[in-house]
Structure formats: C-alpha cells, structure tokens
C-alpha cells in the first residue's frame, strides 16, 4: 500500500515562514510521499521558493511538486525550479518519476497543465496568435502528459497537475472562468493510461472530488478548498479485497476531514 499526502496552492509569501513546517513534523507517520500541486509561491519570487524550501526541509519523505501559474508570474520559474531542486524537492515539468516506496513502486506523472475549458465550452486554436498560442500551450502539455501516462511503468500511477483535468472539481467556481481553470484535454491524456488518481489545485473555490470523462478519480487539493495542511490518499490498500477490484473510483471511501 502506498500512502500519499497531497496539497496545492500553498502560495507561500516572504512572511509565511513557520506557517507550514509545524503541521508536517509527523508527516512520515501518515505518508510515504508528499505531492504539491502548484502555486507554491505567491507571485513567483525565488525568495518565496526559498521560504517554502525551508518549511519543507525537515520532511522525511520524498517531496514532488509541479509549478502553478503564480510560480510563473515573475518569469523566474527556472530560478524557482533551481531553488527547490537544490533543496531536495523534485519539480516535475512534463516528467515521470518512479519511486520505490513500501515495497511497491509509485509513478508520478507531473505537469503544470493549462486552461482552455471543458466539454461544450472550449477555446480553440483559431484566430489571433495570442488565442492560438493559448490553446497550443494546453495541447502541448496534454500531448506530453499523454505520452508519459502511456509509458508510465510502475505499480501505481498518479498524475500531479496544477490545472484541473475535469470540470467536476471546478464546480463552485463561476462558470465564466472555467476555461481558465483547466482543460478536458488534460483529462483525456490522463485517461490514456492507467492513472489511479489525478491531483490538482488552482480552483480554490472548486469541489474536492470528481472524475475525468474516462472515470479516473480526480481530487482538487487546493489548500483554500481543503482547509487543512494536506490530504491523505491510499493506493493498493484494497488489492486483496476482491469486492473493490475493477471498481476504480468507486471504492468505499472513509469521510475525509
């Protein structure tokens, strides 16, 4: 069984030292890995990433992150990646990472993702160069994600995004901004392989649980939404419980708090 801790949208600012670390002191008792779904910083300042790195310095499990839109704001994402990597975090930007954890392997496919909208209300690669490049950015990421998902070789595969792969977990946000919250193309890419769980953030006022069009469980772990330091998920716990086999996404779930 693999135990995952996940959170998104921590939006660390320069004055947030001490706001995260205390809640993580016993993380290793509950989780084998910590995944952070982007918007690590308030406005993409590498100094903010340094604050986050210090907050995570004592975490005893692997920490994998993707960047969010806020981490790109100052056009210094490369510096942020460097700061976080030097601190021992793994930053996934269209990457696949396989971890040996608790006797089985966890594959994490990670990308920021982007917007564009969901079924029935999408932007398209048409018209002005700005519009075309908007949608092209999403398609590029989705294509990359699809390849990684198809090739992912691990006992369990999780997708880590910042943007939403389904409208279901955006529900609660105003409909008008859905095209800026995610894209169904990300969901399609996830469904191309055997991803067991897709995690994302960005939709602070969305809904925690949903599925992709293909039925993959999706969890929105944006911190303003979940309201806690991190959420916990378990993969493979029901491997020997036949009643749940083949019912991906429908396994009985204890109420999360």
């Amino acid at each position: 069984m693999i135990r995952i801790a996940a959170i998104g949208d921590v939006h660390v600012g320069l004055d947030d030292a001490g706001s995260i670390a205390p809640a993580l002191v016993d993380l290793h008792d509950h989780a084998d890995v910590l995944l952070i779904a982007g918007d690590l910083t308030r406005h993409g300042d590498p100094a903010e990433a340094e604050v986050l790195a210090r907050e995570l310095a004592d975490v005893q499990v692997p920490v994998l992150v993707v960047l969010g839109n806020h981490d790109h704001h100052l056009d210094r994402s490369a510096d942020i990646v460097r700061v976080l990597t030097e601190a021992g975090l793994q930053v996934l930007e269209g990457d696949f990472v396989r971890l040996e954890l608790a006797g089985s392997t966890l594959g994490v496919v990670g990308a920021k993702g982007f917007g564009g909208g969901f079924e029935g209300a999408c932007g398209s690669e048409f018209g002005e160069p700005e519009m075309k490049s908007f949608i092209r950015h999403t398609r590029g990421i989705a294509d990359e994600l699809r390849e990684l998902v198809v090739a992912a070789d691990a006992d369990h595969v999780v997708a880590l995004l910042h943007y939403a792969p389904t409208a279901e977990t955006c529900a609660g946000e105003r409909r008008e901004i859905f095209p800026f919250l995610g894209s169904y193309l990300l969901g399609e890419a996830i469904d191309a392989g055997r991803v067991e769980l897709a995690l994302h953030g960005h939709a602070h006022h969305g809904t925690e649980r949903g599925t992709t069009t293909g039925g993959t469980p999706v969890r929105n772990v944006a911190r303003p939404l979940v309201g806690v330091a991190y959420r916990r998920y378990e993969l493979g716990a029901s491997r020997h419980a036949p009643a749940n086999d083949g019912l991906r996404g429908l396994a009985p779930v204890p109420a999360a708090t």
């Binding site: 004055d15 947030d16 706001s19 067991e196 469980p217 309201g227 998920y233 029901s238 749940n244 999360a256």
Partner: protein, 305 residues
C-alpha cells in the same frame, strides 16, 4: 372641476367645508386646503372624505381661528397633539358631526403667512380657496409615514398622478431627511415616476441616500463604483505583487469598497487593503478578509484503490 362625490354625510361635510372657509376668510386669516381634499383639487386621486377636512393655518392665528370657528357654530376641541386643533360641525365626536382639522405645524412643513398667500387658488365646492402645492402636500404625507404605518401606496399613487406638478428637486432635499422619505425617493426613481435621473443626480450630495442607492443595479454609476470599475480594481489586486491571490473578492456595499476572501496572515490581509487604498484613494474600504489557518491535518486517509 366637478363637484365632490361624497356618498355619506355629503351635506354635513359640504356645509362644514363652506362654513369653516367662510369663518376663516371673514376673520381675515390666511389659510389653505391640505390633506386629501387638496390632493383631489390638484388633480390627484378622489378622496375619501368620511374622515376629515384639513386646513393649514399659521401658528400665530390659532386662537383667532378657534374663536372665529366657535362663533360660526363649531365645537372646538384641543387634542393632546400640539400641532393642530379640531372643529366639529355638531357636538364633539358626535356621530353626525363633520370634523375639520386646523393644522398649524404639519410635519416637514413650516406654515407662514407668505406660504399661505402664495398658494395656488382653486375652486372647491363653488368656493375659491388656496391649496398647498403638490410638493408641500407630498412632503407632509411622507413625514406622516411611520414604522407602524409604512404604507407607500397612497403616496405613490399621489406622486404618479401629480408627477408634473411636483418640484422633484425640492422634494428630494426635503424628503431625504427621514428614512421613509429616502425610501420613497428610491421608489419613485426606480418606478420611473420621478423624471429620468434628475432625482438621483440631485441627490448625489446626500451621503445617506447615495449609500442607500449604492447597491441598486443601474444606479452604481452615479452612486459608487460601477461593475467595470470594480473589475478593474479586482484585476489590479490580482496583478499587484502584494495582493496577487485568487481569493480576494472586491464588491461594494452602500458606496464602500468591500473586500472579502482569505489571507494566510495579518500582514497579507493588511497588504491587500493597502493596495486597494492606493488604487482607489478617497473611497471607504471595508476589509472583511479573514485570516485562515491551515495547520490542521486530515485524520483519515481516503482509500483510492
């Protein structure tokens, strides 16, 4: 102008009207019709004259008026209210008596000899009498509204039927001194009874009314930030490094900028407010952003597979 149609005690009231007018006129007192009879004289709704006849007189003429009416056969009654006295055509509160109210200090209006002599003259029951202006009448009607009797029906009906005769600018100044008057001004504006926008333009100087109207769709452009101005503000907040977060909602309540949303610490909360104050100097800012703590952890794990 046709005769009043008074189905009950017509004669009593007609006689009481004619006799009281004659008594006041013969005593040389300035006076004017008010109340529902005056509204009707100006072209307003047909009055229900079962209740009383109303005349405005000057405060210094009260005693003279009392003796003039007493001499004309009226029974004088001084009720506890100190702004009027009553004259009965028969015995006081008698079932067949018509009642005339002589009002020297109506709410919202100061009766002066000058005001009374300047009144428009109208023919009422074949007598030539002064009638208070539509604006004055409406002001007194509005001042009579209370919490226990907050019925706007008759005032709105009056305002609609006499809209051309009302000095809306003057009314706006005089009616906005009470909550009920202010509400009435909002109603006539939104119902389209008052002339297009002149009322709200005039009332911009009234801070309380501006606040009251600030949340009214279609009026924001005159009384507070417009939706597009608010959106500019929201964009600027989202783009400012001190406040760049998706979780601040900018709104307006009663002419003030309201900030809702979440911050992770007090410093961040104050920074957002600083940004707004620098972007919209001079506007009141109501900072309702709450500081939220995310240090709790989930006690149970969700079993995905």
């Amino acid at each position: 102008m046709g005769r009043l149609d008074i189905p009950i005690r017509r004669t009593t009231y007609e006689v009481a009207f004619k006799e009281s007018v004659a008594a006041l006129r013969d005593a040389g007192l300035p006076f004017a019709c008010m109340g529902s009879l005056a509204l009707w004289a100006l072209g307003g709704p047909t009055p229900n004259l079962q209740q009383d006849l109303d005349f405005a007189i000057c405060e210094e003429d009260v005693e003279t008026a009392k003796s003039a009416l007493r001499d004309a056969g009226f029974a004088i009654q001084q009720p506890p209210e100190d702004w009027l006295f009553k004259a009965w055509s028969g015995e006081v509160e008698g079932p067949d008596s018509a009642l005339v109210d002589l009002i020297h200090r109506p709410a919202g209006l100061r009766i002066t000899p000058d005001l009374l002599t300047r009144c428009e003259r109208r023919g009422l029951l074949a007598l030539d009498v002064g009638v208070l202006s539509a604006t004055d009448l409406l002001v007194t009607k509005l001042h009579a509204i209370t919490e226990q009797n907050a019925d706007y029906g008759s005032t709105l009906q009056f305002a609609r039927s006499l809209r051309e005769r009302i000095d809306w600018t003057a009314l706006a100044q005089r009616a906005s001194t009470t909550p009920f008057g202010m509400s009435f001004l909002v109603l006539v504006e939104l119902l389209g009874i008052a002339p297009d926008r002149t009322l709200s333009t005039q009332l911009q100087s009234d801070v309380r009314l501006r606040d009251l109207l600030a949340g009214t769709p279609g009026l924001q452009d005159e009384f507070g930030p417009s939706p597009s101005q608010l959106e500019h503000l929201a964009q600027a907040i989202a783009e400012d490094e001190r406040s760049s977060t998706l979780d601040i909602h900018v709104g307006t309540t009663r002419g003030r900028i309201t900030l809702h949303g979440e911050a992770t610490n007090e410093h961040h909360r104050a920074e957002v407010e600083d940004v707004v104050r620098s972007l919209a100097p001079g506007l009141d800012v109501d900072n309702r952003i709450r500081v939220r703590d995310f240090s709790a952890t989930s006690t149970t794990a969700e079993q995905i597979s």
